[in-house]
């Protein structure tokens, strides 16, 4: 087991190096750079543009830019943003708590909705309860979360003249202000997220309910609630956990449009701004961060499998 864990951890290094190379090359292949963009439309002489490119190191050969960057990464230095001139770590530090909090709240909300409703739909298969839950979940899959968010904001403004606060207040400073900002985005994201997990829960529970050991438990006279909760749900959870964890990783940096709609100063918005600005150092750092989150969460999920299913052994 220890060998397996060490192997998995070591495998992360080439994965992340691959991600770094891909990001670096792809960004340089896209036409235009930060300097051209910065002075778009301004009557700025070519000499100023050339001078700024030189200052930012954009006139160096690509291989030299790459080795410089790799050297910095090896020293755990993510560099400075080409747009703001501030440290990339500082730029990420400001946004990460918000994205993490939103991901956690949306995940908790999704779990709270998806698992009970998914189980209920499975247990009451082909009844009106099942149909209603399926319609609810298909709605969540069909409607983009940013669109639901837009409708929510419009509704609260029209009905109550209220919209979520535009400035992030940490939960520890003012829980009410914090939740006032988070509740609508978390609901809009959590709904879509719960729809995916709900459908997965329903189908896996249905599958497990048809297994021999469930029939045996029922034949032995075990109460139906215990059959469902102890025998069916626990065994059905593995694929559900996989879906939930991958969605969680996605939420850290993937809520681009939702963050725009609610003006949330999160990682997704930062990444989009960085791409729009051709801020190479910031993009490279963010993609590395998000890739690390995905890799780590996948690793953690694999470890959770062992806890949930004693039959699984890594050697």
């Amino acid at each position: 087991m220890r060998r397996y864990v060490a192997g998995r951890l070591l495998l992360m290094i080439p994965t992340l190096i691959g991600v770094a190379i891909l990001t670096f090359v792809i960004m340089r292949m896209v036409p235009g750079d930060i300097v051209a963009l910065k002075y778009a439309g301004s009557p700025v002489p070519q000499s100023v543009i050339d001078q700024e490119r030189h200052q930012l190191g954009l006139d160096k050969p690509m291989w030299l830019q790459f080795t410089d960057w790799m050297g910095e990464i090896a020293r755990f230095d993510l560099g400075t943003s080409l747009w703001t001139g501030h440290s990339v770590v500082e730029e990420i530090e400001i946004r990460f708590p918000l994205s993490l909090e939103l991901a956690i709240i949306a995940t908790l909300l999704a779990i709270a909705i998806a698992i009970p409703l998914g189980v209920l739909a499975a247990v009451r298969q082909d009844t009106w309860t099942d149909y209603a839950i399926r319609i609810f979940s298909i709605g969540g899959l069909a409607m983009p979360s940013f669109w639901i968010g837009l409708l929510m904001v419009l509704a609260t403004i029209t009905l109550f003249g209220w919209a979520p606060p535009l400035v992030f207040t940490p939960f520890t400073v003012d829980p009410f202000a914090n939740l006032a900002q988070m509740v609508l985005p978390a609901l809009s994201v959590g709904y879509r997220y719960s729809a995916v997990s709900m459908r997965m829960t329903r189908s896996t529970v249905l599958e497990v309910l048809r297994e021999d050991y469930v029939r045996t438990a029922r034949a032995k006279g075990v109460a139906e609630s215990l059959v469902v909760m102890r025998h069916a749900l626990r065994n059905a959870l593995l694929p559900v956990i996989t879906v939930i964890s991958l969605e969680f990783a996605f939420l850290i940096g993937g809520l681009v449009v939702t963050e725009q709609v609610f003006n949330l100063n999160g990682i997704g918005k930062l990444l989009v701004d960085a791409v729009a600005h051709r801020d190479y150092t910031l993009i490279q750092a963010l993609v590395l961060l998000l890739a690390s989150v995905f890799v780590l969460i996948n690793f953690v999920v694999d470890m959770v499998y062992v806890v949930l299913d004693p039959r699984i052994r890594y050697s």
Binding site: P31, D33, I34, S42, P43, G161, P165, V167, N265, R278
Partner: protein, 550 residues
């Protein structure tokens, strides 16, 4: 397959049709709503406003975006500035009076106020002005100063006394005095610049009405009233009136409207579209005020003269003749931020030609059908009756996309089959600078009606227009004309010289020409007083005279 571009084209065409059918918007003020006469400013309060982009560095001398000016300008003073009550007039800021100009118009002596303090308590002197202008006009190696060229006439500067500064020019310059009111020329501390010439890229410390309080990147910028600010209003009340301000960075257009609608922000100083204005007007009713004004921003059609057949003046003339700008104005002003028909100078601005004179220029006569007939004839003469090319544009909806689609439709009516080549801004800019296009939609925005600024893109491409002139022509005659107007200090004569340039550049040679000039619309909560719209989104942003009605 129904492609995205076709979908966008159809959507805009539908929007144009609907816009043409509907009555004028109820919320649109016919003119600008001015502050209520006789009201006494009420001190106190915090103004919350929107900025829809993030400033790159904090150094005004280095950057060119309004996203820096709106949150940061309130921390700084300039030597001169534009009068908040009459934005065409230059008034002293830290200068004590208008410059004394020598008879040969080569020496400008400026007396300075002696009561100006920096936010750290130090006194401002002529050393600070000298250090500031040295950084702008004669930047040392490694310091970027994109506007240094605007002061090409300056030979030297000196500070003979602590309260005066002298500029010596190489030749008389018509625009020099107004350029001293540039909103970008923040007065910096000589001591700070001496310690580190790049200090102001990451720090803020000026003599303006507000001190720096905090900045959360991507979220907000906060300023607090500077108690030792030097200016008082005409009644002797200490300025600024506000206790502070908060600039919220909101990049999504819907979120901007929602911020004002929910009264979390009072104003956005750059501008909204007619639809956004109408949404806010419908929702907020009398709580909303609206100011509107012509804007010193314009889209140019730029044929690349290095590419065939755009090296043929007849083809270039046909491109401008085909466009019925007056019909375009009527339709487009209802859906996007363009309105006035004009030449190279802002319509109705101090250097604009009369309508009668403008209409003598190719493409600006009011008879659209006759213009199109001429365009067809010119294309036939040039052997280009079935002209086909790509029209490069950037992927920004307002106003680039509707303007381009209108132009494409106009060209189609004379047999030109141009396709819309839309690119993301950075890629678009790369193509412009590499000359990798046939015809492009370029743009220009300035802080001032000033021919030296508006003609900057018309210098020869291998000379002063390098990196600016995307039509890629070299024309020593036109260079001579531009230089001549720049040195002409008699306003009437200069105006005539500019008119000659317009005729030459837009008609005789048809190098590049405007489509429509932009129109600025600012809907805001009517508690905001003391702010007046101008014809640009760069000046009048120090918030010195802004106050909030209780």
């Amino acid at each position: 397959m129904f492609k995205y571009r076709q979908f966008v084209a159809l959507s805009v065409a539908l929007a144009l049709t609907l816009a043409a059918c509907r009555p004028s918007s109820p919320g649109a003020a016919p003119g600008s709503q001015q502050p209520v006469a006789g009201e006494q400013p009420q001190p106190g309060g915090t103004l919350t406003f929107i900025v829809n982009a993030e400033p790159p560095s904090f150094d005004g001398h280095r950057e060119t975006t309004f996203a820096l000016l709106h949150p940061i300008a309130p921390h700084y003073s300039t030597l001169y500035k534009f009068d908040p009550n009459d934005l065409t007039k230059v008034i002293p800021d830290v200068a004590a009076a208008t410059p004394e100009v020598s008879a040969d118009k080569l020496t400008y002596t400026i007396k300075l106020r002696t009561d100006v303090k920096f936010h750290d308590g130090s006194k401002m002197t002529s050393d600070d002005i000298l250090a500031t202008y040295n950084k702008i006009i004669f930047p040392p190696s490694g310091v970027l100063s994109p506007r240094a060229g605007a002061y090409a006439a300056v030979e030297s500067m000196s500070a003979p006394t602590p309260d005066s500064i002298v500029f010596k020019l190489k030749y008389p310059s018509a625009s020099f005095a107004t350029n001293l009111a540039s909103p970008w020329n923040f007065i910096y501390s000589a001591a700070k610049l001496k310690t580190d010439i790049h200090w102001y890229e990451k720090n803020v410390m000026g003599t303006g009405p507000f001190t720096y309080a905090s900045n959360t990147k991507g979220q907000d910028w906060v300023g607090k009233k500077f108690a030792d600010y030097f200016a008082k209003d005409k009644n002797g009340v200490q300025l600024p009136y506000l206790d502070g301000y908060k600039a919220l960075i909101i990049t999504d257009a819907n979120a901007e409207v929602n911020a004002i609608r929910s009264k979390q922000a009072a104003i956005e100083f750059r501008g909204f579209t007619p639809q956004q204005r109408d949404t806010l007007s419908g929702a907020l009713g009398t709580s909303l005020a609206i100011q509107e004004a012509p804007w010193i921003c314009v889209n140019y059609i730029v044929p690349n003269t290095k590419k065939k057949p755009f090296d043929d003046v007849r083809v270039r003339q046909a491109l401008t003749l085909a466009i019925d700008r007056y019909a375009g104005s009527t339709a487009l002003q209802k859906i996007t931020i363009v309105k006035d028909v004009g030449g190279l100078m802002r319509p109705k601005g101090p250097f604009a030609q009369t309508d009668a004179d403008l209409q003598k220029i190719a493409g600006f006569a009011t008879d659209g059908a006759a213009n199109k007939a001429k365009a067809k004839q010119l294309l036939a003469d040039a052997g280009q009756s079935n002209l086909t090319f790509k029209f490069l544009n950037r992927n920004i909806t307002t106003p680039y996309e509707p303007v381009a689609l209108f132009v494409l439709d106009q060209w189609k009516q004379v047999g030109i089959n141009a396709t819309h080549d839309v690119k993301e801004t950075s890629a678009y800019q790369a193509d412009l600078r590499a000359g990798n296009f046939e015809v492009a939609l370029d743009f220009n925005c300035d802080f001032l009606d000033e021919p030296d600024l508006q003609l900057a893109k018309f210098w020869s491409a291998s000379g002063l227009g390098k990196g600016l002139n995307f039509a890629y022509y070299d024309d020593p005659d036109l260079d001579k004309m531009i230089d001549g107007q720049s040195r002409e200090t008699d306003p009437a004569k200069r105006r005539q010289l500019v008119a000659d340039i317009e005729k030459y550049a837009m008609d005789t040679k048809a190098y590049q020409y405007p489509v429509l000039w932009w129109y600025r619309i600012i809907p805001y909560l009517n508690a905001v007083r003391g702010w007046r719209i101008g014809s640009n989104h760069y000046t009048n942003q120090d918030l010195e005279t802004v106050w909030l009605a209780k």
